[in-house]
């Protein structure tokens, strides 16, 4: 029996990454189907708690995708998002989890190919890490 596919939660800013994901679809670019996209009004809306709860509930990796540096619709939401991602990475290190399970990506609304590439590469890196420690021994998310 093959190893279960990793579950990836992607918080995607509606002004860029969400549109880029849409673009990837309309350009018929393939990216892993296990990437679950949650549309947010800005990557700066994503809180530390949102990322942690996703992991706690069984996500193997969490991607926060915001606008290109300097291009945030709300000026600095993507910078805030990056600092929160770094905070979660610090917390994960403190408890012995792999900090690479959480990552930040930047892209513009027209970069469907970037979304597809980032989603594929992140999924692959999480596959290398293995399942969320809470899912090991079970194939289902909590």
């Amino acid at each position: 029996m093959s190893a279960p596919e990793p579950i990836i939660v992607a918080f995607a800013c509606e002004y860029c990454a969400y549109t880029a994901a849409d673009m990837a679809g309309s350009q018929q670019l393939s990216y892993p189907t296990n990437v679950k996209i949650i549309k947010v009004p800005c990557s700066g809306k994503v809180d530390v708690q949102h990322i942690l709860r996703a992991l706690q509930k069984g996500a193997d990796g969490v991607l926060v995708a915001g606008c290109l540096p300097g291009d945030c619709h709300f000026k600095s939401g993507n910078q805030r998002a990056l600092r929160r991602v770094e905070m979660v990475q610090g917390l994960l290190s403190e408890i012995g989890w792999e900090p690479q399970r959480v990552a930040m990506a930047h892209m513009s609304a027209g970069q469907g190919q970037v979304f597809a590439r980032v989603a594929s590469e992140f999924t692959e890196s999480i596959r290398q890490l293995g399942l969320n420690p809470l899912r090991r021994g079970s194939s289902q998310a909590a």
């Binding site: 709860r53 917390l91 408890i95 420690p133 809470l134």
Partner: protein, 222 residues
């Protein structure tokens, strides 16, 4: 406000070792404002502790609750109907809150989740600085509203020491010399004559040196 910072996770996990069902208790006052122990921080810590314990194959049930104020028996009383469900209370309040809860429930372990730091003000988002040392005998009227007790590293009362250089303190070149600030502000207020007002040696008995302090207001008592 009273400021605080969360303790290292490993220290908290050590406290948690004997327990499997705990109440993680936030406070809606100072620690909420300084983002150390309000509802959001309770949620973050609850997830973190749960993930840490489950990774080790250990079960832990962390219930979350945030009281309006943990340093007030009136609000702590809310716990009376649920406290029996838990083996321990993990308090994210300052030391005052931890002790108020512990005093009310003498048979339940109440453990601190934050290190209480100082009485401070917000300089800008995400930065807090000490502003009051609670000395019990305020001198701000003579010092242009800048406290030599809380903001001078040596707590001196009549002008700067020899370590004041270009407006900064010898303790830390990024720290303003309180007496430079006081002089600048007295000049701006047109009160520079106050600088030559010699303050007598301070009676520190009104501060912590007189032992633990209490305030008793007969007018407020039933």
């Amino acid at each position: 406000m009273i400021t605080a910072e969360r303790k290292p996770i490993q220290e908290i996990l050590e406290y948690l070792t004997p327990f499997s069902r705990v109440l993680l208790l936030g406070c809606n006052e100072c620690v909420t404002v300084c983002n150390a122990g309000g509802r959001k921080e309770v949620g973050i810590l609850a997830s973190t502790l749960t993930m840490a314990r489950r990774k080790e194959g250990l079960e832990i049930e962390v219930e979350e609750l945030t009281l309006e104020r943990q340093c007030d028996p009136e609000f702590v009383e809310e716990l009376a109907r649920i406290i029996d469900r838990y083996e321990a209370v993990l308090s994210m309040a300052c030391g005052c809150g931890v002790q108020t809860v512990a005093e009310r429930f003498p048979t339940v372990p109440v453990l601190p989740m934050v290190n209480t730091e100082f009485m401070g003000a917000s300089e800008r988002q995400g930065v807090w600085a000490e502003r009051c040392a609670g000395c019990g005998d305020c001198v701000l009227a003579y010092t242009g509203g800048i406290c030599p007790v809380a903001r001078c590293s040596k707590r001196i009362f009549n002008g700067p020491c020899g370590g004041s250089s270009k407006g900064k303190c010898e303790i830390n070149p990024e720290m303003d010399c309180a007496w430079q600030l006081i002089w600048d502000r007295l000049k701006a207020l047109g009160q520079s004559e106050l600088y030559s007002h010699i303050m007598p040696a301070k009676d520190w008995r009104s501060a912590r040196d007189g032992g633990p302090r209490r305030i008793v207001r007969r007018d407020l008592q039933p």
